[in-house]
Symmetry: C2
């Protein structure tokens, strides 16, 4: 449950996109099956995004930089195995996995416009390289191709159409981002609002990825699908909290993307929210002055951030934030453990723990 | 076939959105039926876009400014009548009409970001009022809600899923916009490239709107649906050519939106493309100098634009561009005329002529 895998296998390059074996399963078989499935997902995405226009092809080619370790497709495929480990990975699972990744990529491309991010995975972002206009259109193109593909997958009778589920989740993601924008520079943003934002912008799509895996394997068991979606939502929320912690505490070298982005955009995340809620006026002023200095030239900014993190650590706010993530993972793991013993269950439990242990 | 109706009926306000009777049918009945249908489309859009978040609700409220005369829903409903004038307007037609309008609104919101447009229909654009970030997210929200709604409409067996058709068309629109961006400031852009852009960015969605009307009324007659989509594409291309001509020749007061936007963005449209292709070096230089002056302060820019338009008129380039639009409309009208006589047919022929006659 991390953008890196629990036990990284040798990465292999496929058509410019990195595909990695996803999990630390003690058996080689699951890992191989998932890796083969991810390769099919990559091939399908490439085919779906192919364009007869060389102009469009060039821009899409640069998307390779946005591709990480395919967390969402990995969840689709692993939950399909958890729900029914006797089955082959179906074409529907591959399609739904590609849909989840394409929607995720669309949001990354648009997020980089919103954050004016100059880099992504160690290279220039689409907006930095091609301008905001191209990045907005490329995100729209990814959404559109994702929906066209999603609409081609027939959902079982007991489920609403997959494209409707995805449309609803994508709309909720936008609402979460709009809420976050509204609370920019809002030092008094409530803990509950933070969780509303996290659930909307991150947990929903990860939950749906897990559901898509289960539903493709067990189309008529809506109770299991609901349960799997809930597990995904818990892990997704924990993942976002950890992401927000790493944005404060990590470095660009370790994380592979710029850090300090949240405060750079005026977004207050859980450690700071918890700190500020119990801070006295004096501490609040110290904190504000450090945040201001983080917009200064790099050496001043770096020193200010180090001091801010010390403050958050010594006050216990950082530990409280980590504890919130831990509680979510514990709840998810307990629910995963209710499934019968299988390679997929073992792998998912390891992925859940990785949410908290990951350094990137 | 215009953002204004052929014979404007009294506009009425519904929940902040303007709804207008759509056509010049000699019988009152069709006009009333369509007006009632458009009111249902408005109500449905309002319901689909409703949000439990006051923050999101405020931004969506400002969308009213982006709503014009509901051209695409009008086409859905009128082609449904043309295909089968005995039927009531079905709930599916209303839903598909709302989907077309929501996708159109999404592209307008994103277009205003791409063009850095400050105004829309006489008031501030979403990006001017709320910033680019909000405008990007609001466009994404509209796309997502449109797809969720579209996925709920069951397509007949002979049709691909509606959400797939819409996803494909929306992707093509993005490709058209990307191609247009690529040719910014390209004085040598080919006439064929211009038509590729127009067909992708405008004709496709208008064609699909017409198809959606026909298919909801005649689900098993794919030949008629293909024919109707082709009519829509012809009208859509003519509509865009006329739009590009008006962007050069009209004023903001008459058009209700800023003019000179295309050249302001470095986009060369048909009249200029035709002029430059046959221009001598001297004329090309005069033209370039006028275009440069159009970026100057308002009075200089205005004089330069007047001179440029005179040049395009006197050279015959403007007439040639108008002639291209006329040919498309004539072809569409001939195909509309092959349908049996009906109120809808009369209305559609009048709308087709309006494409060329409209001043806004």
């Amino acid at each position: 449950m991390s953008e890196t895998s629990a036990i990284p296998a040798s990465p292999r390059q496929r058509a410019g996109f990195e595909v990695q074996a996803p999990c630390s399963s003690p058996g080689v078989a699951l890992s191989d099956r998932i890796a083969a499935g991810l390769a099919r997902v990559s091939d399908l995405m490439e085919a779906e995004l192919a364009s007869t226009s060389p102009v469009v092809g060039t821009v899409i080619g640069h998307l390779a930089r946005y591709r990480g370790k395919m967390l969402r497709p990995t969840l689709v495929l692993t939950f399909a195995e958890l729900a029914d480990d006797r089955s082959q990975i179906s074409e529907d699972s591959i399609r739904l996995a590609a849909v989840c990744e394409m929607v995720h990529l669309a949001t990354l491309v648009h997020d980089d416009v919103l954050d004016a991010a100059q880099t992504r995975r160690g290279g220039p972002s689409i907006n930095a390289r091609h301008g905001n206009e191209t990045a907005v259109l490329l995100g729209d193109l990814l959404f559109s191709r994702a929906y066209a593909l999603c609409a081609r997958v027939q959902s079982p009778d007991s489920e609403r159409p997959y494209a409707e589920l995805m449309g609803d989740i994508a709309a909720t993601m936008c609402e979460g981002e709009l809420l976050q924008l509204h609370h920019r520079n809002d030092q008094r943003v409530a803990r509950e609002t933070y969780f509303d934002i996290v659930n909307a912008k991150t947990a929903g799509l990860i939950g749906l990825s897990c559901r898509f895996g289960a539903v493709a394997a067990m189309p008529h068991d809506s109770e299991t699908c609901d349960r799997v979606e809930r597990i995904g939502r818990l892990l997704g929320a924990a993942f976002q909290i950890q992401d927000d912690i790493l944005d404060l505490t990590s470095t660009e070298d370790t994380l592979g993307k710029p850090t300090g982005k949240d405060l750079g955009c005026g977004t207050f995340t859980l450690p700071l929210i918890l700190y500020l809620h119990s801070a006295l006026d004096h501490d609040r002023n110290v904190c504000n002055s450090l945040i201001e200095r983080m917009a200064d030239e790099p050496s001043v900014a770096h020193a200010a951030r180090t001091q801010l993190v010390s403050l958050l650590e010594s006050s216990g706010a950082m530990a409280s934030a980590r504890n919130e993530a831990q509680k979510l993972v514990t709840e998810a793991a307990a629910d995963i453990s209710r499934f019968p013993v299988s390679e997929a269950r073992t792998a998912l439990l390891a992925m859940a723990q990785q949410v908290l242990d990951r350094a990137r």
